[in-house]
Amino acid sequence: MRPVIADLAKPAPPDDPVTAPFWAAVREGRLTAPRCRACSRVFLYPRVTCPRCLAGEFEWLDLSGRGRVYACTVVRQAAHPAFVDDVPYVFAVIELEEGPRLASNVVGCPPEEVVPDQPVEVVFEARGDHVVPLFRPILQ
């Protein structure tokens, strides 16, 4: 028998100085990404140094929150008790308008209707003491 995990809450971001500005902005309903002050590269996820030029100073850019589905999978087997009620759910990699890719869920439509290249926009889901960015289809 495997141990029963009593905590049914979904995994949450940790207190991490490198990524804290991202999650703080999400709590305010803004999707942001660091932009390198040296080479202007906009990237996710937040890192200690720019992945292109290795400079270490950034400004936080407000993103449009729009993007397209780069690839997606419908998850049908919950591996964590907190996701049992969610299956089937769509885990997707979103290519944002500004270039970076971000993993998330696509919600607000039946899972089988999520298709590659579909336009999506960010929505914010409050989960107790934190907020996560999710995406929903942009209706044409």
């Binding site: 979904k10 949450a12 996820y45 690839a71 999978t73 996560v132």
Partner: protein, 365 residues
């Protein structure tokens, strides 16, 4: 299990356990180096090391052993992997955290797990979907890989799936775990262990069994490897070419052979798509053509490059790819349950998309 495997490997080689002076582990291994050294009765271990990550370890472990021997740090090195993910849980059972906060420390798990990316299968499912988008790969093509590995297992009495056949209809009717990947796209969970003894070619020629030479071994991260273990690889510039491609460049150059000279290959197969991408990255087919290549029969026993002749992770058992090393040796010794006639050169690969490793084995001439 680790001790049993190491003792069996040493007995096979005709080397006394006391003579082992090097031990190399996988970074996810539960058995410590000194616990093993003490239990087998090693007189003096002078070299030990870990490598990984996880399934990327096995060929890298062999590489560390080779380096230790060539540099005089050890003379007889045991590389082993013991795993109990069938009964003990593990990655396949899902990553369950006691606390809500996950990730941090450069792992970037917090950008994946809150969205239910909890099993490796979903990372590989995204890769499979992307390969379908870019190249038109089909579910039947993935299925052909699962069926090929199963057919090899069906002649291997030691394989978990020895007595269970698989056809395309059963494959296509199996349940979706994380689309487009189905049950039979996923490897097994296994309790088991494998061990390999590495020593100098001169010492090996005095041993009991036919000598199999390590022609070349390579590890490679490639560019843009990214932080973290598995999921963050989904943000690389391309997710359908893996560090396997740069491993292949280094490996073939060191070995002085190319893919057309490989007679048989043991290709790490945690999922069917893992094989598909590597068929391309190791140069057996052009990029994007791994699906039609697999479906054509090229990976069958009589094909251009027979793969996973013991059944692989998909159908023999999941010893995290160390079973691929064992089968590579058995194949070239003529001890495989699915012998490829005249095979002299065998490619063995370890697990991508993390920075990974591979090697070329050759019959000693």
């Amino acid at each position: 299990m680790a001790v049993e495997a190491v003792d069996a490997a040493l007995a096979d080689a005709g080397i006394s356990p006391g003579d082992v002076d090097g031990i190399v582990r996988c970074d996810m291994e539960n058995v410590s180096v000194m616990a093993l050294a003490d239990t087998i009765g090693a007189r003096n271990v002078t070299f030990w090391a870990d490598t990984g990550a996880g399934g990327a370890a096995p060929c890298g472990q062999i590489g560390l052993a080779v380096g230790a021997i060539l540099s005089g740090q050890a003379s007889t090195v045991v590389c082993f992997r013991s795993i109990a993910w069938a009964t003990g849980g593990g990655v396949g059972a899902g990553r369950r955290s006691q606390s809500r906060a996950v990730g941090g420390h450069g792992s970037y798990e917090e950008f994946f797990m809150p969205y239910g990316l909890l099993l490796p299968v979903s990372t590989y499912a995204i890769v499979a979907r992307r390969h379908m988008i870019e190249y038109g790969t089909t579910e039947e093509q993935l299925g052909s890989i699962a069926i090929t590995c199963r057919q090899r297992a069906n002649t291997n009495p030691s394989a978990q799936m020895y007595d269970r056949s698989l056809d395309m209809r059963t494959y296509l009717e199996s349940r979706i775990i994380s689309s487009p990947l189905r049950l039979y796209d996923c490897c097994l969970v296994t309790d088991g262990a494998c061990a390999v003894v590495v020593t100098s070619i001169e010492r090996a020629r005095d041993c009991a069994k036919k000598v199999i030479a390590i022609r070349a071994v390579a590890q490679s991260s490639g560019a843009n490897v990214g932080p973290g273990l598995l999921a963050p690889s989904l943000t690389r510039p391309s997710i359908t070419t893996w560090p396997s491609a740069s491993v292949a460049d280094t490996l073939y150059r060191r070995a002085g052979v190319g893919p057309s000279e490989v007679d048989v290959a043991q290709i790490y197969d945690c999922f069917t798509v893992t094989v598909l991408i590597q068929l391309e990255d190791y140069g057996f087919s052009a990029k994007g053509e791994g699906g039609p290549f697999a479906e054509s029969g090229a990976i069958d026993l009589n094909g251009a490059v027979p793969i996973n002749t013991a059944g692989g992770n998909l159908s023999e058992g999941y010893i995290h790819g160390m079973n691929h090393v064992i089968e590579g040796v058995r194949q070239l010794r003529g001890e495989s349950s699915a012998t490829v006639p005249g095979a002299e050169i065998c490619l063995v690969t370890s697990g991508p998309p993390p920075a990974t490793s591979a090697m070329i084995l050759r019959r000693d001439s």
